[in-house]
Symmetry: D5
Subunit: 122 residues, 10 copies
């Protein structure tokens, strides 16, 4: 099940502002209604304050959703909240895109702090 | 025929603002003049207030246009109105794209509420 | 030769503002200097006031350029003027793109009324 | 060698403002250091004042760089200056893109007059 | 190891403002934790003040990271700092994109000076 | 429902052997188990003997499956049989490809007469 | 864990020979050494004798590998054996393609009976 | 109307066997039933005996179909016959591909002489 | 330097014949003449006899070419020889593809044993 | 002008048979009738006997056509003859592909010795 304790951080290597994007192409979770697997892509984008997320720990955290039944909307907001708690970034955005069920693709965009306008389309 | 009673909602899982996009790649309806089938893609994009649209109910609602003869312009505005009535979102946009007839593709963009500038191109 | 009398309109199905784009992938006319055929794509984008252009009439109108010798720049502005005269839209944009002659592709963008900034790149 | 006298103009066919883009996919010049050929794409984008550039003359002008050894940066600015001198447009932009040497692609963007913000990324 | 002394400059060929982008598709460095190779694309974008970076020297400089173990975040900021020191541009942006490890792609965006809004997404 | 009487033929215009392929990108039928719509592409390939299928009649015939519930395997063989009965071709092949249900795409290949080896992969 | 009892068949709808291909884009299993998830595509291609595999049962069968740790080579041969046992087809081929681990993609091709030469590349 | 007298040949420059393919992306003719324009691609492939077709004459010949109403099947065989009469090649193949009408694309393949097996799929 | 002792095998999991392909997208070595890095893709395809190559060991073996200066032709044959020595497969093919130097891409195909005709194009 | 003395060879590094393909994406020559530049791709494919062509010498040789006016058919056969004279390969194939003039792309395929059937389509 989703496990935020897997998330590890390291100190940001630059004093000046910069932006990091991690795009995970192999996300999978379960549909809470049917039990069928969902597949998608999770993009995490942020401006670090003091801390950056360690890449391998992010991967293991995202793997922890594998057998979890969650709606897309709840899942995107959960990832946002867990990452904000771990890193306390200046701002952070999560874009969760899911391959189609019944011919419908879904994208959920959620953020924390002042996500710059240029990123608000995902 | 289009059946808005098929639409079901669930309560939004987050108190903070976020955005949802549903892209239906397999929309089909009929041309009201010739009776020939039309094929296209319907994108629904919104910021929920209290409610989100349930995915399977959206699929069944869009399927209900299958044997309906409607002009593209009327159809896009009808979907907008039905979804706004069902969810009362903060804002909502419908982008209806149709594969070519006689070599002409058509896109109709319509919205309700304050669709952010960044989405107004569809 | 270009024949604006082919254009027919129907009354806009919505009282609220919306936008329509028609993309014609199979446009052909003649080069006025060499007599060789030109091939391209014509995009017509507008916000209707009272009237929308009927799709089949638009196709026949665009077909009427088939054996006409016109420069790209004149052609794009001619289409703009004919459509504005037929529909009196709130605003209208024509983007005419031509396949390369001598390795050069050409795009002409022209508009009428207040084309929103977001569309001004075509 | 680059020959600006090849450029010919014709009178703009419209009194209202419009924009023209010419994209030349088959540009080639020489590296001034190694003598090896460079290959690239030249985009010329402008709003005409009184004059438009004649397409075939533009092609011949661009061909005249074929055996010229010039750095990318100098070349893009040279094309800008020659076209501005020939047409006196309201504004003009040149985007010169070169295929990789040693795995590096290069783009140079240069303009004259008030290139609209929407085009400044090329 | 990264060697900023490899960077050479030449005088900018134009008095007016223009922009240069160099995109290096064949960047490789090492992961400092596992010793495995990383592969990616480095984009360098700037407005020159007095000096432009010489293309071959940029290539050799980027090659000097080949056997260096660095985190993505540190690496992008290092390239930014070295290029700013060498050229003193009006502004400069570095976009470092890395192919996936464990299914995660990463992009780091960092800049110096007033990077125009239109480039801030990379 | 599938209606083979819609199929019309015309006399082959050449005495020598040749091959015709019709690819219909907008096929739709219904799933006999769930009632949900299926979408796909039907390719019909044949060497005419005396007769060729008239294109518009083929389109109307394929449209007649729109509200029919049939398994993919039965459907492909039905189309094959109807076309063979209408044209009596030297050989004929039907390739029916369906977009995924539950993440699975399906292709059915069926033929009549001596389909050349080079076509047997579809 | 892989569960062949999920596989259900139905009687082939045609007496004449034909071929079926099912392509599952969303296959996932686990690496038996590291416990990390693997992602890939499974293609099943066969000529039915008496029976065809029912599509939904195939999907559920492939889902049953979700939390199973198996090497790619063993997995492809296991799917082949289970499907041959269920359907007794004239011939059957399984092509298992896995997204890269450490930059390496892997394909395993295995068959049963006389897979036609034209399919032996997968 | 189609005008075979436009075709000009030159003597083959090699005594040994070789093969030439000309692919015309901008073919257009008229539908003989509706008068609407058709658009497509014509591929001509042959092994010269004594003569090769001159490229510009081929272009003008193909342009001569512009306002001709012909069925696809007749058109492909007509081009084959005209080219065989002009060049007397060892073998020749014509592949005529037409963009969709009513969602159906059509390809016609026809040949003269011993078209090698490897080309018979077009 | 290339290190064949890194290669490890495991026993083939199937008694019946099957085929394995490993495609490594991130191969890099050095040019022996200039010292510049080369980048490419290595495909290894084989039918196992008793042994299969272990995936991680293959990755480490291919990484061992990172700082080796070798011509493409020698490199492809070296990989072939090392893998044949390690696995003694029924047959094996190596396809080495290199990104362009000076605008030229290179592919080298080499094999051991009876590579089936269908694979001989790589 | 084409200069075969630029071609240099090195001794083949393998006693066993293998195949080499060089694909040059940036070929340019001149049209002998109009003087306009032609652009294309040259593929050279061969099985070495004693000698392989040195890559840089091949590049310089192909550059030597830059200002030469030659028909496509003559050019392809000339390259074949020069390379066969330089390397005396077991067999060799040249595929010359040219970007369109007047909307027509051209490919010329020519060979020497027993080009395997699998390569004869280019």
């Amino acid at each position: 099940m989703p496990n935020a304790t897997l998330l590890e951080c390291f100190e940001s290597p630059a004093a000046t502002a910069f932006i990091i994007e991690h795009i995970h192409e192999e996300f999978t979770s379960m549909c809470p209604k049917t039990g069928h697997p969902d597949f998608g892509r999770i993009t995490v984008r942020f401006e670090p304050a003091q801390k950056c997320i360690e890449l391998k720990s992010l991967k293991l955290y995202l793997h922890s959703f594998r057998n979890e039944g969650m709606f897309f909307e709840a899942l995107a907001n959960r990832i946002r909240d867990d990452l904000v708690a771990a890193m306390a970034p200046r701002w952070l955005q999560v874009v969760a895109e899911f391959r189609g069920r019944g011919g419908i693709h879904t994208r959920v965009l959620t953020g924390s702090g002042s996500v710059p306008e240029r990123y608000q389309r995902g």
